[in-house]
């Protein structure tokens, strides 16, 4: 079974620029998550999709972050404009359904550095 794929692996941009990350979940997984992991912290949920609908975006900074999941498969997360505090690893995860006993499977993440 292929895992969660993310690209790019690394991205360096200057503040106020825009950036986009891509995620391809495990085939058949209905639920997709985007997390932000700041150095020294645990992953923090930004947004959760069930198929192509948003079920939780309460911690997404909507003035600068946006995400979409077209056709219920791939997803993109965008930051525009980026701030210094956005430097982090952005992790995508997927699970079969959003039930508590279904573990989430993570991709290797995109490490974003803001100069």
């Amino acid at each position: 079974e292929a895992g969660v794929a993310q690209s790019p692996r690394y991205k360096i941009i200057e503040k106020r620029q825009s950036v986009a990350f891509w995620c391809n979940p495990i085939s058949g997984h209905a639920t997709l998550y985007w997390y932000q992991q700041i150095l020294g912290q645990g992953p923090k949920l930004l947004i959760q999709f069930q198929n192509n609908g948003v079920v939780d975006d309460s911690q997404l900074p909507k003035d600068r972050f946006s995400a979409e999941r077209l056709k219920g498969v791939d997803s993109t997360l965008k930051i525009q404009p980026a701030k210094l505090e956005d430097s982090a690893v952005y992790l995508c995860a997927s699970s079969l359904v959003s039930t508590s006993n279904q573990p989430q499977h993570f991709g290797d993440g995109t490490r974003l550095s803001i100069l």
């Binding site: 969660v4 020294g40 912290q41 645990g42 992953p43 923090k44 949920l45 959760q48 069930q50 079920v55 939780d56 992790l91 995860a93 959003s98 039930t99 508590s100 006993n101 573990p103 989430q104 499977h105 993570f106 991709g107 290797d108 993440g109």
Partner: protein, 114 residues
């Protein structure tokens, strides 16, 4: 307000000995707890979980214990191996009305010395 706390940033043990990683939580409504393992430059990998209605779950060398009255869980690794060296995240699951959400601790870096 940190609902899931891992108070030990790091732990060092000798190969063959027991590793015990601890996690405390504040929200009694959490219904499932999970441990994830993370190697550098890789995403977290699911390791083991436990339902809030149980007090122990075992999978090979890994055992998770849950003490609900103390709001405390621990992960035991016996015997520890050098390949177990990684960051371990404790996570708790909570149903928020329309979805289950995971809250992670800050992680504990385990180093197993040969």
């Amino acid at each position: 307000d940190q609902q899931v706390k891992q108070n030990s940033p790091s732990l060092s043990v000798q190969e063959g000995r027991i590793s015990i990683l601890n996690c405390d939580y504040t929200n009694s409504m959490f219904d499932y707890f999970l441990w994830y393992k993370k190697y550098p430059a890789e995403g977290p990998t699911f390791l083991i979980s436990i339902s809030s209605i149980k007090d122990k779950n075992e999978d090979g060398r890994f055992t998770v214990f849950l003490n609900k009255s103390a709001k405390h869980l621990s992960l035991h690794i016996v015997p520890s191996q050098p390949g177990d060296s990684a960051v371990y995240f404790c996570a708790a699951s909570l149903f928020g009305g329309s979805n289950y959400k995971l809250t992670f601790g800050k992680g504990t870096l385990l180093t197993v010395n040969p």
